[in-house]
Amino acid sequence: MSTILTHIAIADGKIKRSSLEVLSHCKQLADQGGHSVEAVVVDSNASSFVEGIQKYGASKVYVVEDPIFKNHMNTPLLKALVKVMESANPSVFAFASTESTKDILGALAANQNAAVLPDVSSFELMDGGVKAKRPVMAAKIISNTQAKGDTVLVSVRSGSYDLAENETSAEVVNVDFCMEDSELQAILKEIISASGDTIDLNEAESIVAAGRGVKDEEGQKLISELAQVLNAGIGASRALTEAGIYDPSLQIGQTGKVVSPQLYIAVGISGAIQHVAGMANSKVIVAINKDPDAPIFEISDYGIVGDLYKVLPPFIEELKKIKN
């Protein structure tokens, strides 16, 4: 029997849904193979999340709590994870593939001499390692990759697995942690922009994404109204984040966020491969574009050929009616 360890990421005082998706999958793998599944939460307020984690079947929860984790910096997180790995001795350590994960995954693998499979869309255990599917070449194709080693780190794209509740009474292990300021290699000076009250795109059930067709304030207002009706996150194509119309953290695509919500509404987006690489795994795709030959229609479940300024008002109105 070996241990599958899962990292539970916290953002804005909440457990990231994508980490619970990974934990749900790991619980299933553990049950199938007779392994144990454990979780680790690192946060300035880590212990408050234990209950939420227990619902998803971890038999042990490592809690690393220290004010230093208030600001994300890679050095303290790495130190905490190394410490937990030494206790848990996992054969597999699974993460949700977030920007914070990307910041530390390679360093943790190098530090622990572990094999690592980043940004997978699915994975399973095999003798002596892990087998995974990874979108590569701008997510145009899938590579089947295996990793062998005593420890394999895996990061999983959000939306790859469904949540599955599985209440257990996990043993809680509080891990002593202490770090001097002098050990901090990188200093966080400030967080200069945050999407604040907008919804984290990695976690959103629905996303409304704006592209080049959204030309002015009126267009942006329509995007906001549509997002509000659907309780959706707002995303944007590179053209609009580069133009400074939307915050860079909202960019969806190969360079920006890779998302897989239940519903993705692409408004005025033509569907360049770089954008498609970031959203093609959405469950249902709706495209609104006045060019009937826009490539986005080739991957859309529902394609509306029309001017977004004429289509969105009645669309929003109808959705409001349905919602009520």
Binding site: K131, T145, L188, I192, S249, I299, I322
Partner: protein, 256 residues
């Protein structure tokens, strides 16, 4: 500031891809400088133009990679090191990182920079691996760099916002291609690149064991992505089709 920028030659992801018997067939003529690395080169050049210093590129690759290296030199890098490999090796991020860490262990520099990922594998591991191996302060996914009082100020894109991180030098940073538009080499640059020094280092001279070069991950094969089929397309009166699709999202797709 002395910059080392690690660059990689990658297949052009915009070229048509073919899979035959699980293997990826690529057009050998369409190998390009990784776009994220080009941004790292550009940013280093901008800082050099502002504060002085030197930009050297380092590339691990087959003999063919010298074309990619010339591109970076034509952009304006001062010199280059080509760590010559046969091109048939099965390197993964860990192998590349160990080669780079070995190469840099006795070098002096202020900033070691790389693209945040390579366009072919999209792994994004090498930068933080090299940093860990060399015990360098580092950060990833930079969207802006500034040099200030001998330190590197990095604007990085985090999950929900942008963070300003101060790194003492020497440090490592990985760059997003959101930070700039890499310059296109002009004729003068292309001509000048031919006279710039390109040192060749044989991989075997780096004193790495077979074990250190061996990849812990193996690509077993490639497969087509399950195609998304085009669904229904609605054309006509905006009012009508908008209402119809809204209804279908509720009754058919069940996502409202």
């Amino acid at each position: 500031m002395k910059f080392y920028v690690c660059i990689k030659m990658v297949p052009d992801v915009n070229a048509p891809l073919q899979i035959k018997d699980g293997q990826l067939i690529q057009d050998a003529d369409r190998q390009i400088l990784n776009a994220y690395d080009a941004s790292a080169v550009e940013e280093a050049l901008v800082l050099k133009e502002k504060h002085g210093g030197e930009v050297e590129v380092v590339c691990i690759g087959s003999a063919k990679a010298s074309e990619t290296i010339r591109k970076a030199l034509a952009m304006g890098a001062d010199k280059a090191t080509h760590i010559v490999a046969s091109g048939d090796e099965n390197f993964d991020s860990g192998s590349y990182a160990r080669i780079l860490a070995k190469f840099f262990e006795d070098k002096e520099y202020d900033v070691l920079s790389l693209g945040k990922q390579a366009q072919d594998t999209d792994a994004g591991l090498t930068g933080s691996m090299v940093a860990a191996m060399l015990s360098l302060p580092y950060t990833t996914n930079a969207v802006g760099l500034k040099a200030q009082d001998g330190k590197l100020i990095v604007k990085r894109q985090g999950d929900t916002g942008q963070e300003m991180i101060e790194l003492p030098t020497p440090c490592a940073v990985t760059c997003s291609n959101d930070m700039n538009e890499p310059r296109i080499p002009n004729l003068k640059g292309i001509m000048a690149s031919k006279r710039k020094p390109m040192e060749q280092v044989e991989l075997s001279s780096l004193d790495l064991s077979e074990d250190e070069l061996t990849a812990s991950t193996t690509v077993l094969g490639y497969e087509e992505k399950p195609e998304r089929e085009a669904g229904k397309k609605f054309e006509g009166e905006a009012d009508e089709i908008a209402r119809e699709v809204a209804q279908l999202l509720d009754t058919e797709a069940n996502v409202i």
